[in-house]
Symmetry: C2
């Protein structure tokens, strides 16, 4: 029999408020305007850069303007800074070609021109399978794996292609160095065929292993090199990267609060990360998340009454370069983690949510079921799984025991643009952003208002 809304769980007043809130979010462009403001007035904001400092001032100003009750920063230390510098590459032979390349985060530079023969590995596993030693001495290791080639098996996550691609991105330089390579290049981890390289984070260098430069090249250039290699002739590349690891830097988590009218010390946490990679203006990654979360909480704050519990918008520092912000937040707020009622993070671009995945206690699941019905008209289904950790930064709090939700989004565009110069405001689709914001505001209003223990 069809399920019916059980008004003993969600009162008619709260239901009506939630519907009104959802409809307002669908018709109000606030989330889009916030992304426009952040990308226009701040732009790139990698942690430890001037842009990051401007972003912090911007966010505090925006929280104020949006009528948040409290807003503050919590300083986060970054053990090392990094200057991207320039990255130039060209094929010297058999045919001269410029190659579009960008350094992977926290790579060292080449210290002048580095010339070597390219040796292709189709996957990270293939590179790993090569015995350690001097096999790649004088060579440039090239992992040509394409994220788009990933065909998920039953039960595998759709994002498996991204996970597979990030193996070489995060560990390839150490693995290649152990085999004697002079440098690592990878095909960009993305789904587009634009001639941009997608940057991203490495996991740093390993003690006792040579620190070799690591870079991504664009998909068209990866295909070009593969096509030359098919001619069974050595491909010699010259690269020059002026990246540099520098001393420690400071950043901050930025927190804005709508204070609850009854349980002000119980927090619903809406996460996004304030930092972005440095080549685009960080519109999809994660301007969209910042816009959706700030707007969702602001809409709730602008209702007639404050919700029963507090809402906290957490804008994390340094997600892209290793979850610096959330780890600091957890350390500072460990004792209050039990007061973090439920959390979710928006970090999948500006596309619409298609699936809500809960990660709550079994009793609370019944309530999530009812709450979901109020966002079902947005085209959102409820997953049968109950293992969400909150995504991105928030997943750290989820793993530490905080109940969480994951809002799975359409991320078709996200993996075309993210981590490239192409991640700019024009990629934001306003209607989709309003849908996204409607989903977050509706669910978090309900969760803040209802007397549910999501741990139970």
């Amino acid at each position: 029999p069809p399920l019916e809304i059980d008004y003993s769980i969600i009162s008619k007043t709260i239901t009506n408020n939630a519907i009104a809130l959802r409809e307002r979010a669908l018709s109000d462009n606030l989330s889009v305007d916030i992304v426009e403001s952040l990308t226009t007035e701040v732009g790139p904001r990698r942690m430890g850069t001037d842009g990051d400092q401007r972003a912090i001032s911007w966010a505090l100003e925006k929280f104020k303007e949006l009528g948040f009750d409290r807003f503050w920063t919590e300083e986060v230390l970054l053990d090392r800074g990094w200057v991207r510098g320039e990255a130039k590459a060209e094929i010297l032979s058999p045919y001269p070609h410029n190659i579009v390349m960008t350094a992977l985060g926290y790579s060292v530079g080449t210290n002048g021109d580095l010339v070597g023969e390219i040796v292709e590995f189709k996957t990270f596993a293939e590179l790993e399978a090569l015995p350690e030693g001097n096999n790649l001495k004088g060579k440039i290791a090239f992992v040509s794996y394409s994220m788009s080639d990933f065909k998920p098996q039953p039960g595998q996550p759709l994002m498996g292609g991204y996970s597979e691609g990030t193996k070489a991105r995060s560990r390839g330089h150490v693995t290649a160095a152990k085999r004697g390579a002079e440098a690592l290049i990878i095909r960009s981890v993305g789904t587009d065929n634009n001639r941009y390289a997608h940057t991203g984070s490495g996991y740093g260098y390993e003690e006792g292993v040579k620190r070799i430069p690591a870079a991504a090249i664009s998909a068209p250039d990866a295909i070009l090199i593969q096509n030359i290699l098919k001619r069974e002739t050595p491909v010699i590349m010259k690269m020059n990267m002026t990246s540099e690891i520098t001393g420690p830097k400071k950043g901050a988590n930025i927190i804005g609060e709508i204070t609850g009218r009854e349980h002000s010390d119980q927090y619903l946490v809406l996460g996004a990360h304030i930092d972005s990679w440095d080549e685009g203006t960080g519109a999809l990654d994660d301007g969209a998340g910042v816009g959706a979360m700030m707007a969702a909480a602001a809409f709730i704050g602008q209702m007639e009454n404050r919700p029963k519990r507090s809402l906290r918008v957490l804008l994390f520092a340094g997600e892209e370069i290793g979850l610096y912000g959330v780890n600091d937040y957890l350390k500072k707020h460990k004792d209050a983690l039990g007061k973090h009622v439920l959390g979710a993070e928006a970090d999948g671009g500006g596309g619409r949510v298609h699936t809500l995945i809960p990660g709550v206690g079994s009793t609370a699941l019944l309530v999530i079921n009812e709450m979901h019905k109020l966002i079902a008209p947005l085209g959102i289904v409820l997953s049968e799984e109950n293992n969400a950790k909150g995504g991105s930064d928030m997943g750290v709090l989820g793993e530490a025991g905080m109940p969480a939700l994951n809002f799975s989004q359409n991320s078709n565009d996200y993996f075309k643009y993210h981590h490239t110069p192409n991640d700019t405001f024009d990629k934001i689709i306003a209607e989709d952003m309003r849908y996204l914001t409607a989903a977050y505001s509706t669910i978090f209003y309900l969760a803040a208002e209802m007397p549910v223990d999501f741990r139970q």
Copy 2:
């Protein structure tokens, strides 16, 4: 009543041959392989550069390999060379931003840093409407016209947005200089929102008018600047371009011939241009044309018998920078223009042909009607107009009196990628290229075989 093929016009043997040829072209990847070879082994080939010289050798070798009966070059002089150099730009205030910029062809450099306030003009007409004088003294004129905004009126060509955009691209720097501007920037003439600038050709400088630098910026950056300007605050930009006009250079038209078995001195001419802009590898513009025309003629040449008339594949020099090759060809072959039976050029990317537009005598039109039926299965309609000039370079010969055909193609992708670093081989869709090649080979085989005077 439905039209029937009149076999008194096209014999059954020729019809069958044409169908066999069409089907072969649909199943043979030769045109794609040629584009792969040109873009991989040569790459960028702006006239007057080393790449252009490599392209000439490549083309002669390819004609040989494909079994053409004759192939040769005809030297073409270029009155001035050009070095692109680097183009860097940044917004200094009110918010610091890097801007993706590229020099327009044959622009002078900035001679160090050039700093100025940006003054926006929505269209070239708006810039022109400003009286000449010192109104733009110290300023950077910015024409923000977007090709995508063009809404064709009844009777206007679909490509009107491109024509409109190229006004500022070709004449904007002179117009802006006459009003005192220090530099011209335009929104790229293209339909994409990728963060690339589309280069393209200016018409050169005017005697007695200050030679100011001219550059295109990417669509996302044009939008960014417009969004800052909405805040009604001066936008100050710094640009640095090291472009340089140099001395004369040499290039060549490259001609490959399948010699006719009866009228070897009558030519069907299949045109494309060998040169490309210098930032991509010229896959769509005009590798696709080179591939389609070489393959179409090669397929005809590989039939059991040579066709009655000769086929000439004309690969023109210097189309992008001012039709150098075709003008030289016309000068050299003026006396033989009457022997040029019919011509067409492929210079619209790798998309499928949707419309065949003739430009022939009224009697010949009846034959074109019958010929068209053999390519109608490729999804091609016959235009009711009869005014084609052959397109691009070939249009110069068409204007001089040569009968011509235009094959209108799906160019949706073309205007996203052309003149940018993104014009690379991966953008070629193999099946579409086979359709394109099938259309050219079928029509040109018929035209070479049939005793028609296309001038009548």
